[in-house]
Symmetry: C2
Subunit: 417 residues, 2 copies
């Protein structure tokens, strides 16, 4: 692995350039071009195991949202830990999941357009992976059926239910049942279940959100029940009921456990960001979830932030202003800026007091850090940052490093955005 890193060392923006004789590549030793995003592998593995334990305890299946990481090395870990499948957002993402050995793929999105449909047809030809996509519109259902029937294929579709002011999905039961009947009548489609995404509900008021979500989930379960009673799903196969992002999966699991839709139902949740967690919005939502869910508090270990951004102090042009060598090109900035969590000089930890440094602004390749007088900072020091909204940070990198607790590089992994 280390030789691989060194041979490919000029091929990406976080190239490894180790001088060391033992071949060990270390971030703090400046063996890698910074900025770089690293994943602490032990924490990653813990998070993957934690969520699998949680879903096992709830007797639901897990299809982690793969669009978060688009990293086959992580998909494989999730599968190995017991995931039933992977959730994706597009046909291309489905391809990457298939190549990672995933056997059930929920494309939690509509499949639109000739090229996208043809892409999925090729994937179905080339593998035995079961691919599901969502439908919420008759016109789209007809186009899908026409396409897949012409290819002598059948596409597994999930009826999407949505909420007023939300994203995709039928807003009323009558609309949903009419569409389900229509899908049932089409030769190229098989109605395989119901899909929803409650994550669009997210205001400042948790109690209002919980009420709204529970109301939505009740409607989803009632509609699913009615579709079952109307015999709109095939008898011979299990029926999928799937929802849940990383914020409200406790509520979804609760309702799934109480749903009583029969033996033939597979309940699938699709959180994504838990896998690296973060030091921002997902840390907050996880804290809120632990306040709601006794089970989450009892699962051994706990979700923690596995993703860190490492960058140099690049310039110190004014007494309390340091320019840090990372920017919008390197990390998510839409849900809070990366904030320092540790400070190193020549490989050694420097004293670090939370609150004494703050990233206050970000440009394409620079961040502006303000710091208090007590901080002993120098150009060339390495700062480690926690991030917020992992999906967008993953998206910035073609290669990421798995590291141990001492920032030794364990593996270089590819992303496929």
């Amino acid at each position: 692995m280390k030789n691989q890193l060194i041979s490919g060392k000029l091929d990406h923006k976080a190239a490894a350039m180790s001088h060391s004789t033992d071949g060990q590549i270390n971030i703090l030793n400046e063996d890698v071009c910074l900025p770089v995003v690293v994943i602490k592998e032990q924490i990653l593995d813990n998070n993957i195991r934690w969520m699998q334990d949680y879903t096992n305890a709830c007797q639901v299946s897990l299809a982690p949202h793969g669009k978060t990481t688009m990293t086959p090395a992580i998909f494989k870990k999730q599968l190995q830990a017991g995931a039933w499948g992977i959730g994706v957002g597009t046909a291309y993402q489905a391809k990457i999941a298939i190549e990672s050995g995933i056997t059930n793929i929920i494309m939690a999105n509509q499949l639109i357009g000739k090229a996208n449909m043809l892409f999925v047809s090729k994937l179905k030809q080339q593998s035995n992976t079961k691919i599901f996509c969502c439908v919420d519109n008759k016109g789209n259902a007809l186009q899908l059926s026409t396409h897949f029937a012409a290819q002598e294929q059948t596409m597994n579709v999930l009826l999407e239910l949505g909420i007023e002011g939300g994203r995709c999905g039928c807003r009323s039961e009558s609309e949903a049942i009419e569409l389900a009947k229509y899908i049932h009548s089409l030769p190229g489609l098989k109605l395989s279940g119901v899909e929803f995404y409650e994550g669009v509900i997210h205001s400042q008021n948790e109690l209002t959100d919980i009420d709204k979500i529970n109301g939505f989930l009740t409607r989803v379960i009632n509609t699913s029940n009615n579709l079952i009673k109307l015999n709109l799903f095939p008898d011979s196969e299990e029926v999928i009921l799937t929802g849940a992002g990383s914020v409200w999966y406790d509520l979804v699991c609760q309702q799934m456990q109480q749903a009583n839709l029969g033996q033939n139902i597979r309940y699938v949740i699709r959180p994504g960001c838990y896998v690296t967690q973060d030091k921002g919005v997902y840390q907050q939502s996880h804290n809120a979830l632990k306040n709601r869910s006794e089970l989450a508090c009892h699962i051994q270990g706990d979700l923690a932030s596995a993703m860190e951004l490492c960058a140099f102090v690049q310039s110190m042009p004014e007494p309390d202003l340091a320019i840090i060598g990372f920017g919008k090109r390197d990390a998510a900035f839409d849900e809070g800026l990366p904030q320092p969590i540790a400070h190193y000089r020549h490989g050694q930890a420097m004293p670090f007091v939370t609150g004494t440094m703050k990233t206050q602004n970000i440009m394409d390749q620079h961040a502006m850090l303000h710091y208090s007088k007590d901080v002993d900072l120098q150009v060339g020091d390495i700062l480690i940052f926690g991030t917020s909204h992992p999906c967008i940070t993953f998206d910035k990198w073609r290669q990421l490093y798995f590291v141990d607790g001492q920032y030794n590089v364990l593996e270089a992994v590819e992303t496929y955005f």
Copy 2:
């Protein structure tokens, strides 16, 4: 080229999946998986020629900022049109520029850390390209000198001057002269000129900004003049004075033309975003620039937006709400959301009235579009969007399509972020 596209068709998220017998891949014909970002090649070529004409008229050299596009196919066009070099932000970006045949590279940034320095050493070993980096700190200057001297190399450095409350760069003349003398004394460095970036000045008040910028430029030129008088630059080589992003290059060119620093000076400006322009912040700043600069109004043709995002109407769940199949994964969203500029159905243009559709929100893979009752919209329709802040949109794609005015694909080009 078309065969290339088809053979590599499943290898990226905007795969071409053409069914057509003539091999012509067309976006409106749904031959490509949407969403996709396209570059209208004729407009791109016009923009490149326009800026070269502008700089020629001002008798300054052009080193377009390459970090905007990170697309060698575009670097080559800029070079062919007469660019003197390319600006970059990092060592890795310098590598991509060198591989594109660029012979002068201004890394408009400090070079920090062992791996980054070693990376640049390798680049210097492997090519004859002249690479300049910036310095604004003695500690960094010493580290650079120590590194490059040990490699038996000399690094060309530019002294960076900055402005209070801005980014990197020495804030005072005395600091700058002291640092220049120090650099002059170091064995591994050659002081090759002065660098600045006035683009950090950008408030709501143009007149105040102009005053500030002109004051800053006066200081830059005075300091440069004093460094020349102090004989701190080598006699035998030209001295670089470089600045200017895409917003204020008219002011910079004016001051460079009047600077009178002697025959030995090469003035270099580094705008980046002009190359594709946009329909947002850079359209606005270009309009403001044309109000200031008679020359800009007289250059033939005009900068126009070359970059467009093409996406499907994916869902129409409520009377005035359409969900569009693109998101934060596909386009910049930090300086205004992509907004519709055209509407197609089955390859045919539909009536389009500006202001009748508006993107109001964006998630990772979806955008929420509100539209007026008069608009005849269907799931599966293609909408074309203008974007704002091209750098961040380029960064979302590993491959882009150059298209003609009818959205026929002319070439697939790689990006190297």
